[in-house]
Symmetry: C2
Subunit: 890 residues, 2 copies
């Protein structure tokens, strides 16, 4: 018989932390904590396999489940000496979801389950606190009503407001047990009206309703969005945890809190968290009351820390902190409740942290000897590094502070104010920078938070939804800026008499919590010593070299600063669009014959030479891969009538002639047209000019600086013969320049592998190539038959529906595109064992793709400058994983 239910706590722990896939993160860690004797209220976990079986079997549970749940419940009853539905000593439970990876705010929780019109009296009598009992009951109806029964949560709030008005009180805490009882009556009547039947009184009905809601929420739209954004397969499923309730809301010696074993924002090795006295867990994260700091060190004047208020429980918690870090060897995110001064642990998990914190924690834990360097390197998400590398506000810049909130996620951002997630997405798609401004955020806003440059909320703390999600995404966030009032209807936000409208520019600094009107000057990121330390470790570990894609001196310098080991892709056509040059380019295109083209190209030569001189100087002897002209010629011609006329005047031709030529050059499928080396074959003079510029520049630089190593790359080769022809063009120029100048520089000639045919005939092509560089952007287009320009119409839906696991332009399609890369690498190396292999598509900066590149044995990846550190770290992680796989397979 399949074991569907796993016990934990009170001496029986069926599971442990290693069963995360089966029990979910929460369930596995509850069992683990209980097994190392931490105070965990007893409970049980319904496995993720039940979730999978439930969906596979048309939303029906396995037959044996009921009996196993009953047995597990009986064990809890016995352990705590209470009975489910008992009128005197009722057992109350929480029902919580818990997936394999933490999905904050995505899944639903029900507390105080087991309360009904009868047991509430038993709870009141047993605790001697009627107010607590009725408050718990109304909380239960409210949570169960909205989560399980689907009643709008505003309906509940209205009823409380009415009771408060009637009672003439302002704070919830001023309500009496009788008031709460009236709230409960109101709730029950309203729910019955909404759902057409009474609120369930049978604790068993309540329990199965809650379990069903948890499983049901696994497939709700916001969970689907979260999974898509975080690459979580739908078939992982969620577990359900049922656990005896403990109460943080039984009085002033009770509390509930959420904390991190180190500061999740900075990584500082201080106990960091928030708590609320006399409250239940949801109160902290919901942001309804503003929580207080856990440790004295984080307390501001006037704030009472838990360290001060509940010193005994705090000390116990601090001890748990130390045990957990030593046990898990990672920073933990903990939930706890203090019931009448006794500490209970409700959750531990690896804590989400900002990129800066993840860096600092990894480095410090390694230096503390808690983890080794490989582990430290594996701990930092390369994709998250990105945020450390982006500009912060210039402290010297003039700024107008508009408001201040909590520094919820570091980094600074400027953008136009938008008030809805949809609009944020819409405008971001058009290339606009936007700041999403919300009273508070909810899972429905995730896509907008992803699209925005930064997020600003007026409610909620450091562990509010906005703060947690923004940190995970690496978006700057200022949370709980309470002095700001938002009017969604008027589309304005106001503070201190100043009003900012939708569309106006706002700047936030997630490191300080400051909000500024208008845009503020940014400065280059200051990389911490931890960054350098970790990168140093990564560099020692990795095998893959990391180069950059760069055409401009600025990009090349940035990339060097970030550790690029050369240029892997210099797209020479970018240099053609410069206003000083485009005229000559167009003259070349319009020329009637080769002589005319050569005349025009001669004008371009000095520009191209200067381009290469400056790149070679910046790269100081490192390899520089220069791709010769790639796009079809029509891309350089104007489109609009007005521009056409302008160009015609500039060239001294009539517009009709230019239009005619543009039409002659236009293509049905330019992606598959007359471009790349096909241009080199048709117009040898173009590549000859470019080759001459490269060699003249190399010779010039070599006179005064370290000789550069130009690697000349022929694009869009499909047959060996194309490479032979264009290679000969380049070699002729090398010979000519070396003879003219009496000086020789080393160089090599290779090709992009960006057509399936090139990959399939890589053995033939390798005979004429010194290196291959995989152009996986174009390869993805041809392998999928998918135009990047047109895919927007259906590709997002494809990813959402799981037809494709990921956008293949973002992360390499290992089976298809990767299959061809592998074929080409094997065929190429079989013919020429020392063939240099690299990748220069945008996949070169994507960690998953870099892991693939490691597995295929490429020599280097090349990516945009800001991705260079990402790639260095990802390459190190790939090397570690490759070694582990290697040992595992031995």
């Amino acid at each position: 018989m399949t074991k569907w239910v796993y016990n934990f706590g009170a001496g029986v722990n069926d599971g442990n932390a290693s069963l995360r896939n089966l029990l979910g993160g929460k369930g596995a860690n509850l069992a683990e904590m209980a097994s190392i004797n931490l105070p965990v209220p007893p409970g049980f976990t319904i496995t993720t396999e039940v979730c999978t079986a439930y969906y596979d079997n048309d939303r029906n549970y396995p037959a044996e489940l009921k009996a196993q749940v009953d047995a597990a419940l009986a064990r809890i009853e016995e352990a705590v000496g209470r009975k489910f539905g008992d009128k005197d000593k009722p057992l109350l439970v929480s029902v919580r979801s818990g997936a394999r990876v933490s999905m904050p705010g995505m899944m639903d929780t029900v507390l105080n389950l087991g309360l009904n019109d009868v047991t509430v009296l038993g709870l009141a009598a047993g605790s001697g606190d009627a107010r607590f009992a009725w408050d718990s009951y109304r909380r239960f109806i409210q949570m169960y009503g909205s989560v399980v029964l689907g009643v709008d949560h505003h309906r509940f709030e209205e009823i409380i407001e009415h009771v408060k008005l009637d009672a003439d009180v302002i704070e919830d805490t001023a309500l009496t047990p009788e008031h709460w009882q009236r709230v409960v009556e109101g709730y029950k009547a309203m729910v019955a009206e909404e759902i057409g039947k009474p609120f369930p009184q049978d604790p068993q009905d309540q329990l199965w309703g809650a379990i069903g809601a948890v499983f049901g929420s696994w497939m709700n739209p916001r969970a689907n969005v979260y999974r898509r954004l975080h690459d979580i397969p739908a078939n992982w499923g969620t577990a359900v945890n049922v656990q005896a309730m403990v109460f943080g809301n039984m009085g002033e010696d009770c509390a509930t809190g959420v904390c991190f074993t180190r500061d999740p924002s900075t990584g500082l090795n201080e106990f960091y968290g928030e708590y609320l006295v006399n409250a239940q867990g949801e109160d902290v994260v919901a942001g309804i009351r503003t929580p207080r700091p856990l440790s004295q060190v984080y307390a501001k004047p006037g704030e009472v820390s838990m360290e001060a208020a509940l010193p005994e429980a705090y000390a116990e918690l601090k001890n748990v902190r130390s045990i957990l870090e030593k046990h898990y060897k990672d920073m933990q995110d903990i939930e706890f409740t203090v019931q009448q001064n006794k500490l209970y642990m409700l959750q531990t998990r690896s804590g989400k942290r900002s990129a800066a914190a993840s860096l600092r924690i990894a480095v410090e834990m390694a230096e503390e000897g808690l983890i080794d360097r490989n582990t430290a390197v594996m701990r930092v998400n390369p994709a998250a590094l990105d945020q450390l590398l982006h500009p912060t506000l210039d402290p010297k810049a003039a700024k107008t502070q508009f408001a201040k909130g909590l520094p919820a996620s570091p980094g600074a951002a400027s953008g136009a104010v938008v008030f809805s997630a949809d609009e944020a997405e819409l405008r971001a798609q058009k290339g606009e920078s936007v700041i999403l401004v919300r009273i508070e955020t909810s899972p429905e806003d995730i896509h907008g938070m992803h699209a925005a440059r930064g997020v600003l909320t007026t409610r909620g703390g450091m562990t509010s939804h906005a703060a947690v999600v923004a940190r995970g995404m690496g978006r700057p966030c200022v949370a709980g800026a309470g002095s700001i009032s938002i009017d969604y209807g008027a589309q304005t936000l106001s503070a201190n008499g100043v009003t900012i409208r939708a569309g106006e520019i706002l700047t936030i600094d997630g490191a300080t919590g400051e909000v500024f009107a208008g845009s503020v000057k940014m400065i280059e990121p200051q990389l911490s010593g931890d960054f350098g330390t970790l990168m140093g470790w990564a560099d020692e570990i990795r095998r893959l070299k990391v180069r950059t894609n760069a055409e401009t001196p600025l990009d090349a310098e940035t990339a060097r600063k970030f550790g690029a080991e050369g240029i892997g892709l210099c797209r020479t056509e970018h240099m053609f669009f410069d206003p000083q040059r485009i005229g000559a380019v167009r003259q070349m295109i319009m020329a009637k014959d080769e002589a005319g083209r050569r005349t025009a190209l001669a004008k371009l030569l000095p520009f191209q030479r200067e381009d290469f001189v400056s790149l070679f100087k910046i790269m100081e002897g490192l390899p520089v891969t220069i791709r010769l002209l790639d796009p079809p010629l029509h891309e350089f011609l104007p489109h609009g009538e007005a521009e056409l006329k302008e160009v015609a005047d500039a060239l001294g031709m009539d517009a009709a002639t230019i239009k005619e030529r543009a039409e002659e050059l236009s293509e049905a499928n330019p992606m598959l047209g007359h471009r790349g080396c096909r241009l080199g074959v048709t117009y040898p003079e173009i590549y000859e000019m470019q080759a001459r510029a490269i060699f003249e520049a190399a010779v010039e630089v070599s006179k005064t600086a370290k000789a550069p190593v130009p690697e000349i790359m022929i694009p869009l080769v499909g047959t060996k013969r194309e490479l032979d022809i264009t290679r000969a063009q380049v070699e002729r120029m090398a010979k000519a320049v070396f003879e003219e100048t009496g000086k020789t520089v080393e160089y090599s000639i290779g090709t992009m592998i960006e057509l399936p045919r090139a990959a399939l005939t890589a053995d033939q092509i390798a005979e004429s190539a010194d290196f291959f560089s995989f152009g996986t952007n174009d390869l993805t287009q041809t392998v999928f038959g998918l135009s990047r320009d047109d895919a927007g119409k259906f590709l997002p839906a494809y990813v959402e529906q799981g037809i494709l696991p990921k956008d293949p332009f973002v992360s390499i399609d290992v089976d298809g595109v990767g299959g061809l890369v592998r074929i080409a690498a094997e065929k190429g190396r079989a013919k020429k064992p020392n063939l240099k292999l690299g990748i220069c598509g945008e996949h070169g900066g994507d960690p998953a793709s870099i892991a693939f590149c490691e597995s295929v044995g490429l020599d280097y990846v090349s990516c945009s400058p800001y991705r260079v550190p990402v790639a260095r770290l990802a390459a190190a992680q790939a090397a570690i994983e490759a070694k582990e796989t290697h040992f595992r397979d031995k």
Copy 2:
């Protein structure tokens, strides 16, 4: 030491027929004929390796060549008892090219080499015929002058005309030795003036000049064009044959001729050829004098056949005919010369023949027991069958005979008159049918002959250039229609007082030699019994099934008549363009939502169902592969403003809305856009309608006729998931229709493999597919990154320059596209051993591609109706070759 020179004749035969690659066809067969004791004048062959070495070594000969040529020449001198350059008994030689395959008219020949101002006197004295000697000398100067020295041949003709005018004679034969001597003086003076130095007198200079000219002509533009059209690699090279001259122009007991062992036009087993008394070989082919028939059976009243005129030599020749056919087991094309009643063999080779003749000869030779059936099947060029399948003139049609010529190449054709090859090509590219009309054709005209539907000449016989080339190409040709006069300047042709202008329609019947003004009604081809016999043999041999690509009843019926074994590709979108339907299609595209689309699709359903009903009935239980909608939706929308307005009115919408939708749907690269199964995923209702139409039709037909076997094909699948989704759509419809009608039919669901990714992940896709059909058109586009619509700008140049051996859209690229097909076939079959595999790109009718399909183990090919017999024969040949390879490899 490399042997560069091979002797033949006079008892020393270094080579034989098997050395064709080394000695060229002519040299190998001269050695072979000599070795079986046929009368071959002695000579030697300079190998094709010399040609290759010559081009590899910057047009220089191997060092040892001179000595080897000298030795071989000395052997000839000894054999014939004459010496090169001897004033009394001069040896004269012919110098002829001879490539591995015969290239008629492409290479150059020099006769009578060795004559000069001194040896001409020896020749005159020795032969006792001064007229013959001076005529030979002037012929030599003329040929050598034009071929080796590059003097325009008109310059020579002018001089003869002058002498004739002076002598007041009309026929060349009326000229005396002195007149010819004067011609020689005129020639020498003119040549000296043209080339700036005297005509070479040293026979050694003459010889090396001629050898150089042969090798040089290998790379001349017309040779390059011929090779390109006939897929002959440039690196095969040509040999040079140097042979002692024999003379057909020494008097009335001399003759020269060209003949075929069977009739090359019909295949009739009769000795067929032409000869001229007192002439040299070039006179026959040049068409200067009209030759006479060889055999009495072909002689018209008044014509003197060789059988009658030179009965002894004829009898000897007839004996040779029999020996050669038995020896070579094929129809031979023979050149001979009779010198003073003695027969000399100058060439034998496999004779070019019309498709009809090749069929008849193959079948008859097999029935005679000369060859076996496999050989017979291998003998017929599948591509040439095409011409047998095209219409001929309706004998009952009213026609106006304009003129009559020789029936030089069978088949009938109508088209607009053009007078130049360039124009023929230009207009044919625009889709016009043209007839190329020339006084005579030359190798410069080949591209125009290829482009034209038919060829008409006013000069030359059945072995003239026009006749030979047209037969080879399968173009109808009427040659030597002498009653027609052509005025190139006025762009007219006239006969019997009627004038036809360029652009007017002309009809020729290559089977009768008739020429008609205007167009004439054509009738379906009458396939001979030989056709059926050979096809029957082919069908017994082949393993590959042959299906057709057809959407219309007419195409389906034609294909069935040609032996199609089902439909391999029915492109349903072709059915959408019908005027009755396009309105509903556009309504569907313009619909705002799914409901609107379903309404429009409901209108299409009955049409689609009727389409399938008629196809199923015609196919009588054979498989019918139906591809669901493939092209992007914008292809169905109008483009021009006027059409847009019309459509808007018809749909009751405003033009702006339609234009907006068209723009919304427009794509940068439609080939890589929102099409194929991507439409099925986005708009399930489209495939559902099509699937319903298929199943309803299948059920309906199965009630009264043999149940059809629909194979439903999903296009453009790139991932298994896409196939899963669309497969489910189809299966739902099958279930629905079977339930509604209470009747079930067999069906299968498969996919096109037309994207590299589909091929690379074929193992995954095979799990959900009952069959694969390789869409090699699209696969070629994606594998090469080459848009078929745009490739015209450079692809022809690529083929001409040898960057690609062939147009990959015509013949499958075995290394690239074929490599993927192989991967997909292997992966698919590995997962599902009984997976049915076919091909439905246009390659399915290309013999070379069919051979590839056989080698990969596909189950069937599918091609256009008229290619079905071609495919059946090619499939048989592929099977034979596969078996031979198999045995060879054992």
